[in-house]
Symmetry: C2
Subunit: 334 residues, 2 copies
């Protein structure tokens, strides 16, 4: 099955590039609201499911034991830009659990955001340490959970470590899937990533937002995590980042989380809707624009959010003189 | 027409992302050697045709008047990384023509290469000036030509400026196409870019490499430019860049030039072959890998270049711990 074109990128009078992909929206009862392209072949969710991976942090009592509030929980679900505030908060969390950042096994890297990297260049001579990894909040959550549960954290990134096992159990429960080694890849931050159909990811985020189809404790934990992310969108990504801007615009009504290689998951809790999409080619410019378009498609036509969503769904292509020379056009059936 | 998958990107046991595209190879007699996907719909060549755009610099006598050698001519055909050596050479060229870099109309930007940008961050507080634009060599060539020909350089980026007209004439002649306003977009550096079929770009580079189908003077200028690029591949791109690595590997046998949005043009002058390809989605990781694979396909199977080409065609996907977690796989019919 060839997925449809979901994004056109124009230059002057012509379409210059196209992006194909698949999109799935499921409601709280498990009914398909929107299905475009192949939503059943498993794909790696990458960072888009960090909120699900954070459930054990809440359910184990770790978050309460260390007094983690909305900012900390948002950072745990984040792919952050490595801004000073992100790093400071991750360090504060580790301190609460009497842990050292040398326990982090995610590897370090320069920020994906050019302006942050230029700032980092004034702080670090070589590659910044693991605490600057965009996943350092998630990893901090992992080792805090280990510390609270008296589990040895060393090797917590491995598939057979108790931390990864409890995360995998939560992920299977929420998405209604079964994960064997045959669908297991290694993520950018070295933890396992399991390939899951978009339909299952969308179902999972419908459940996370609505609390349906989950046990009472899990439903409560899910609500707490999505609320934290929507309350503190800066800690979920960073200054000028798409997830942050979208959730700031949404004002507690929209949840959205990007993953690498063109994946996006989201939820509209008030309508019980879960969303999952992937661009075939992994392009983030495409996954971002189409995600905004999907939210626009699902929100009421007269909702004041629509103007902001339309802007995010159709950004201009700028050149080095700051001229708008084309546009990114999200293509959704009306 | 849906273009075929030309690149698969794997992670662990699964294909994670795919890239579609079209490829055309034409020989010096105009015969099609390889055609994959839609090679007749016009696409923007972007920076991939800088060597053709540099013909007037030679033909007008400008290059000789200012004593431009291989390094300067390579820089004129370059999308360089903005390394200190690139900037110094562009400045030296402007000085030869008694021009000031304030004449450059391409706009400034931070380097596309993270390590260069971090170095630039120690030199510039705000966005670096136009001389740091990856196209500053090309623009320097334009205004040097204007200076030598007593043409007022102001506005040289506009479609109706004499410099752009003479470039467009050369481009139409070499590619055998006709360019009206209806196929004209604005490039990243603000000059016109005309949509051309891949088949015409490939024909153009076959002619550039073989000297066939061009007037005697133009054939000589073309040979001089490709030779300059192959002699000085660092000035065509920069440290660790694909075009530079490929031409270093090729050792005067392979010419290759990337363009934005997944375009690549190339030539194997000894066989009279011209190559043009575009990835539908504009991804450079895909256009680079498939370009190496196309060279591998066209060179003799027992050529010592094959090992290096195979490495460039199938790079590993690395994670933040430096683990190889997947691979980019070029897909060409055997």
């Amino acid at each position: 099955m060839t997925n449809p074109v979901i994004i056109e990128v124009t230059r002057g009078p012509k379409v210059e590039s196209i992006h194909r992909g698949a999109i799935c929206v499921i409601d709280a009862e498990g009914k398909t609201v929107l299905s475009l392209g192949d939503v059943e072949t498993p794909v790696f969710p990458r960072s888009a499911i960090k909120a699900i991976q954070a459930l054990p942090l809440i359910e184990s009592g770790t978050a309460d034991a260390y007094g983690f509030g909305n900012k900390e929980l948002s950072l745990v679900c984040a792919s952050h830009s490595g801004e000073d505030e992100h790093i400071a908060l991750a360090r504060k969390m580790l301190k609460r659990a009497s842990l050292n950042e040398s326990c982090l096994e995610c590897g370090g890297h320069w920020s994906s955001q050019a302006w942050v990297m230029r700032h980092q260049a004034t702080l670090y001579k070589d590659t910044p340490p693991a605490i600057c990894n965009n996943c350092s909040g998630k990893h901090t959550g992992f080792i805090c959970t280990a510390a609270h549960c008296n589990i040895e954290p060393t090797g917590y990134i491995k598939r057979d470590h108790p931390i990864q096992q409890v995360i995998n159990e939560a992920l299977q429960d929420v998405t209604g899937t079964h994960h064997g080694e045959d669908i297991c890849g290694t993520d950018g931050c070295s933890i396992p990533t399991y390939a899951i159909p978009l339909s299952a990811m969308a179902r999972g985020f419908a459940r996370m937002g609505a609390g349906s189809g989950l046990g009472a404790e899990r439903a409560k934990a899910a609500k707490r995590l999505l609320t934290a992310c929507m309350s503190e969108p800066f800690y979920m990504a960073g200054t000028g980042r798409f997830c942050t801007m979208l959730m700031e615009l949404g004002n507690m009504r929209l949840f959205a989380k990007t993953g690498a290689e063109g994946v996006f998951c989201g939820a509209i809790p008030q309508f019980g809707l879960g969303i999952a999409l992937k661009c075939d080619d992994g392009a983030m410019r495409a996954s971002e624009a189409i995600m905004a378009a999907v939210f626009g498609h699902l929100m009421p036509k007269d909702d004041p959010l629509q103007e902001g969503l339309a802007t995010l769904a159709n950004p201009s292509v700028m050149n080095w003189n700051g001229w708008a020379v084309g546009e990114v056009r999200a293509q959704l059936p009306a």
